[in-house]
Amino acid sequence: MSKDLKFLVVDDFSTMRRIIKNLLHDLGYSNVTEADDGKTALPMLQAGNFDFLITDWNMPGMPGLDLIKAVRADARLAKMPVLMLTAEAKREQIIEAAQAGVNGYVIKPFTAETLKEKLDKILGTAGK
C-alpha cells in the first residue's frame, strides 16, 4: 500500500491533531493536513485530492457525524475511506456512525497499535 496517501485529520484540539499526525508519521504516512472542525474540513476535502479522512465526532461548528454524512452525500467523496477517532462511546452512536458510512471507529483514549490495525484493515479493504 502506498505511503504517499494524503490524510486529512479533523479534530478541534490541536494537541490531538499533533498526536495523530505524529503517529501517522511513525507509520510512514507523512502527507497529513489538519482541520479543526467539519465546516473547515468539508471544503478542503472537496478541493484537495485527499485519500483518507480521520475525524473526531464532538466539535463546534460541524460535528464529525455531519461531516461524514456530507462526505458520503458528495459523489466525488462518497468512496473516501473514513476513520472516526472519538471519545463518543455510546452504543447507539457507534451504530449511527456505522450507518452514516464510517469504515472504522476508534474510541479515545487509543493506542498506536489500534490506530495502525484499523488503518491497515481499512486500506486493505476500502474501495475494493
Binding site: P63, E88, A89, R91, E92, I94, I95, A98, F110
Partner: protein, 254 residues
C-alpha cells in the same frame, strides 16, 4: 349566612350580657364579658401575627438566598468560567510542550540507532574478512581492516553521547511539564466547590418555593455528540474499550 350574621351569632350573647351588667352596675360581670370577647379574638390575632412573622422570615431568607445567588451569577460564575478557560490553556500548553520534546527526541534516538547500525555493519565486515595470514604482514592487514571500524566508532561515540544527553534533558523537561496536573487540579476543585454551593442555594430556593419546580430535561442530541464517557454520569449502554466497539461493529457486519 352573611358575615355579619356570623358576628351577630358569635358575639350577640356576649354583648347582651355586657349591656345587662352595665345597666345593673355589675362591674365584675361586665369585665367577665369583656374578657370573654378578648379571649374570643386572641387566637385569631395570634394566628395572624404568627403568619406575618413567618412571611417576614421567609422573605428575609429568600432575600439572603437571592442576594447570594445574584452574587454567584454576577461574580463567581464568570470567575469560574475564566478559571476553567485557564485550565484548558494550561493543559494545552503542557501537552504542546510535551509533544515538542517528544518530537525533538525522536530524531535523536533514530540517529543513534542508525549510526549504531553502521558501526555494527563495519564490525561484521571486519569479522567476515578472509582469515589473516601468520606473521607481521597478517597483523598489519588485520589492523588495516579494522581501521573502518575505528573510524565508525570515532564518529558514533561523541554523537551518541550528546544525543543521549539531550534526550535525557528532554525527558526531564517532559517530567516537569506534568506539573500542570497539580495546578489545574486545584483550580477544578475550587470550581467544584462553587457548583456544590450553587446546588445547595438553588435547593434552598426550591424548598422556599414549596418545592414546586418543574424538572426540565436537558435536550441532548446525538449528532453533536455527548463528549467523553464519565464513569457514574454517562447514561445508557457505553463501550468501555476498543474491543467492545469492534465486537459491536462486527455484529453489524463491518
Amino acid at each position: 349566612m352573611s358575615n355579619f350574621s356570623i358576628l351577630q351569632r358569635e358575639y350577640g350573647a356576649c354583648l347582651e350580657s355586657m349591656t345587662e351588667a352595665f345597666q345593673r352596675d355589675d362591674e365584675a360581670a361586665f369585665f367577665t364579658a369583656v374578657d370573654h370577647i378578648v379571649h374570643m379574638r386572641e387566637p385569631k390575632m395570634l394566628g395572624e401575627i404568627r403568619k406575618l412573622t413567618g412571611d417576614l422570615q421567609k422573605a428575609l431568607e429568600r432575600f439572603s438566598i437571592e442576594s447570594r445567588l445574584a452574587d454567584i451569577a454576577e461574580r463567581e460564575i464568570p470567575n469560574a468560567r475564566a478559571r476553567l478557560t485557564h485550565v484548558i490553556n494550561m493543559t494545552d500548553e503542557a501537552a504542546h510542550r510535551t509533544l515538542d520534546l517528544v518530537e525533538r527526541s525522536g530524531p535523536l534516538a533514530e540517529r543513534t540507532a542508525r549510526e549504531a547500525n553502521v558501526l555494527l555493519e563495519s564490525l561484521e565486515a571486519f569479522r567476515a574478512r578472509p582469515a589473516p595470514t601468520a606473521g607481521f604482514e597478517g597483523v598489519a592487514r588485520s589492523v588495516e581492516a579494522f581501521l573502518p571500524v575505528v573510524r565508525s566508532l570515532e564518529a558514533f561515540l561523541p554523537s551518541a553521547r550528546s544525543d543521549c544527553e539531550q534526550i535525557r534533558r528532554n525527558l526531564a523537561d517532559v517530567l516537569l511539564a506534568q506539573g500542570y496536573q497539580d495546578l489545574t487540579g486545584q483550580i477544578i476543585r475550587s470550581v467544584i466547590k462553587l457548583v456544590e454551593e450553587l446546588e445547595r442555594t438553588l435547593g434552598d430556593l426550591t424548598a422556599l418555593s414549596g418545592g414546586a419546580v418543574e424538572h426540565a430535561t436537558l435536550g441532548e442530541s446525538n449528532s453533536s455528540g455527548f463528549g467523553p464517557v464519565v464513569p457514574g454520569v454517562t447514561q445508557g449502554e457505553v463501550a468501555s474499550a476498543q474491543t467492545d466497539v469492534d465486537a459491536l461493529l462486527s455484529g453489524l457486519g463491518m
